[in-house]
Structure formats: C-alpha cells, structure tokens
Symmetry: C3
Subunit: 208 residues, 3 copies
C-alpha cells in the first residue's frame, strides 16, 4: 500500500494549532461569562460548540495518526498532546455547564481570579504549541512551559484559599458545594495545561 | 530460553472476553439492585465477587503480557485495554458499595437511567471486545464504539441535569451529597467505557 | 554527539531512592500532624517543603531521561514510576494543606488509621524501590508489592466505612464535607502507592 507521507505530516501541526486556538477561545468565553452573569446560557452554548469543534479536531488528529507511517514527533507524544488539549476544553465546558445548570446568580472574586489564570495558561499553551512546528527557538517554548507551571501553582493557591473561605463565609452549604465544584473544575483546567506543558517540554528536550 | 508463543497468544483474546463478560455481569447486577432496593446487601456482595474475578483476569493478562515475546496486538494497547476494562468494574463496585454503606432506601429516576446507560454501554463494550479476535468485520466494531461514545454523552447529560435537579428538589443536603456521588460514579463508568472504545478504535485503525 | 552513558545510568536509581525516601518522610510527617493537632501549621509547612524537594527530584529524573541514550529500564517505566511517586507526595501534601486551611481542630480514628496505612504503604514503596537496582531478589520486591496492594484494600475499606460513619454520626454537614475530602485524599495516596507497585511488578517480570 502506497502512502503519501510528507504532505500529511504537516497537518499534525495544523491540528495542534487549531486545538490550541480553541482552548484560548473557550477560556476567554468562560471569563466573559463570569464578568456578566446575565448571559450564562448563551455563553454556555458557545462553549459547548467550541468543545464540539475541539472534539472533531482531536478525532481528526488521532485518525491521521493511524493513517501515516512517519510522524514528525513520537506517536505517543502526539497522542498524549492532543488528548490533554482536549481535556482542557472539556473541563472548561464542564465548569461552564455547571454555571448554567446550578442557576448561579452571583460569583466570587476567587472564581474570577481562577478564570483569569485559565485564560493566561491557555494563551501560553497556544504560544508553546504554535512554536512546536519550528523548534529553532526552544528557549521561548520552555519559557512558556515554566510560566504555565507557575500559573498552575497560582491556580492551586487560589483554589485552596478560596475553598477555605467558602467554609468560613458562605452560609448556604448547598451553594458552598456548587462553588467548590466550579473552583475545582477550573483548577483542573490549569492542571491539564500543566500536563500539556510537561509533554511539550519532553518533546523539546528530545528534538531541539 | 525457548518460549511456546503461538498457543499463548490466543489466550489474550480469551482474557479480554472474560473481562468484557464480567463488565456486563456487574452492570446488570447493579441495575437489578436499583430496581429492588430490598436486596442491596446481597447484590453488593455479588458485585464485590464479580469485581474480584475481574481483578484476577486483569492480573493474569498482565502476567501473560510479560511472559510472551510476541503479542497479537501492541503491548501498550493490551495493557491500556485491560486496565480500563478493570476500571469499569471497579467503578460499578464503588457505586454499589456506596448504595449499601450510605443506607440508601429510595432512588431517583436519574440513577435508574444512568444504570440503564451503563448496561447498554457494557453490552457494546462486550460486543466490540469479542469481535477483536476477528478483525474481518471492522465496521461492526466501529459501530459499537460510536454507540458507546453516544451513550457516554447521554450519561453525561443525565448526570448534569440530575445533579441540577438534586440541588433544586432534594431538601436533605446530606442525601444530596450521597446521590451526587453515586451519579458521578455511574457516569465515570460510561467514561471508562468510552476509554475502552477509543483504545479499540485505535486497534482497529491499526490492524484492520 | 558524544554522550557519557554509563555513569549517568546509575543516577536513575539514586533519583528513585531519593523520591521513595521523600514519600516516607511526607507520610510520617502527616501521621505526626494527626497525633498532635496543635502544630498543624508547622507540619504543613514541612510537608510543603518535602513536596517541593520531591518535585525537583522528579524534574531531574525526567531531564536525565531525555539526555541519555540508554536507560537501565524502559523509558516508559521510568517515566511512569517517577510520575506516580511524585503523585503520592502531592496527595499527602494536599491532605496536609486541607488540615490547615479547613481549620481542623479534632480528628477521627478513621483518619488516623488511614494515615497509618499511608505510612506503611510508603515504607513498602521505599523497600521495593530501593531493591530495584539489584534485581537478584525479586521475591522480596514482589512481596512488598503484594503488601502494598493489601494496604490499598485496607485503606479503601477504612475510607468507605469511615464515610458511612460520617453520614450517620457527624451532625455538622460542612465538617462532614471537610473530613470526607481528607479521607478521600489519603485513600488516593494508597491508590498511587498501588500504581507504583504495579509498575514495579511489571519491571520485575520484565528484567528479573
């Protein structure tokens, strides 16, 4: 069976870029949702659509992975990278749907800070991913990865003190449960960004 | 060291089939538990036993994996497949034990729908796994995988609206916490079924 | 490019040993925290420091992995091993920080039993890991792995009956939520110990 390898190889990087762009789009949309709670439903619908697009890119990448003989970077790395990027959007969507389903009508500064951290981490993921196709500037990629790690730590810190504050100050236990879950989902977004950063660091160490 | 490869190879598929059968058995037993809450304890004991059997099959497969030189499909795929199949039974068992430990005396339609979705997903896992030893009919396997993905989406939808309903309608917060956890465990069952479907799709794309 | 392979190879085992020692240190510190709740803050600070040291060892191992051509055991196994060992310390630290953040002033016998199980599992992880550099005594390693599996089961049992007891006996729902989370984090510690045991068993089956 003859396969036309070279032109397909390039498409991996196109797919990576699309996934990374959708991550930034979803994170930004979520932050906007928190800024103006009167449009939660339409924002949640937009994020659902973005998540669906991200799924399609992920599936296309995995299909491509099985079709080509030679890949520009290790198959395992490609699989891990697209799976974790897909996870990022999934967790943003999960947080967004909870906002809608739980009928959230007011938000905390901690949730807003977490949403900001998610947007920043997403932007660094995009930068690192876009630079993958050209490994001539590895220092720049590593810098983004280090920054994502720092943001994950920041997210973790906000989560933990935010939850402690809920236990001290939120009088309604059911509301506490709702907010705690949304905080945790947002912190998981930064965890998955860190997973992506670790995979990218591995690729850079291997190929640059 | 001489190894007798060929006869052992076939055993992988036997082990896969056994795991898949135990998944259906556990899911079915759990659905029966929900239909008649007066026998939770004995059902939970049955499911515990099934989970134990599934553990043994998993261990036997992994030992076999380390003993043979040549495997019928990639070692990584075999490892991932049996680990995720084992997870499915573990999560059914976790939900079942909570039913017993939390002293659940009444159930919601959402839990019953989730249990139905789990049984259906388990049956498609079994069908896809049983077809693995004969990759001549890949379309049928892919159809099962697509159906498992659809069921995972359905499970996710039931979970989310079910939890929203608990927050609106369940007056007892502690009961809400219990039911929320059981819903989430059942939804994780369908997540792990989807993981299995993704692994199987990868195998089909590679070998068929 | 010339690489000096042999001296670097040995360092993997040094790194593994360091990680394993830090796991025991963190688990022991946590158990001491539970025994005397008047020093939660300083204990939590110590554990944070241990977690930071463990992070550095993990990063050093992964960097080494990308620098050397030949590794003493499979690259995937090394990566899985150090990642899961890192997870163990992370979850101990997460439990420890919650103790501090949630302002815990009294503890349950179940939490103390879970902390004991964590220390024992950590000690067996250390023993198994330290024996990895000398695979002449595989029976001893396997014995530790079997014991870790048993401890994971014990941890799971304590968790489940402990949570059932919280639902029956803890009158304050918010306190129930806090304790449930701490129990679950400690049980996840034993889960990750079991992951490490499974990876080590695989290595032993492959190389011994």
């Amino acid at each position: 069976m003859l396969r036309f390898l070279i032109p397909k190889e390039g498409r991996f990087f196109e797919h990576f870029d699309q996934s990374a762009d959708l991550i930034v789009k979803a994170a930004t949309e979520f932050r906007e949702m928190l800024k103006d709670l009167s449009h939660i439903e339409s924002r949640a619908r937009n994020i659902k659509r973005i998540e669906h697009d991200a799924d399609e890119v992920t599936h296309a990448t995995i299909e491509l992975l099985h079709k080509v003989f030679i890949t520009p970077i290790d198959r395992e790395d490609i699989f891990a990278l697209v799976s974790k990027m897909d996870d990022i959007v999934d967790f943003i969507e999960a947080a967004s749907e909870r906002m809608f389903l739980y009928g959230i009508t007011s938000m905390t500064p901690e949730a807003e800070s977490l949403a900001d951290v998610c947007v920043k981490a997403a932007e660094h993921v995009r930068e690192a991913v876009h630079s993958l196709k050209n490994l001539k500037n590895p220092e720049q990629i590593i810098k983004s990865c280090v920054e994502i790690n720092r943001l994950e730590n920041e997210g973790d810190h906000i989560l933990r003190s935010g939850i402690a504050k809920l236990f001290r100050e939120e009088p309604d236990t059911r509301n506490l449960i709702k907010l705690k879950e949304i905080y945790e989902l947002l912190e998981t977004v930064t965890d998955r960004c860190e997973d992506v950063a670790n995979i990218i660091e591995g690729i850079v160490l291997e190929y640059a």
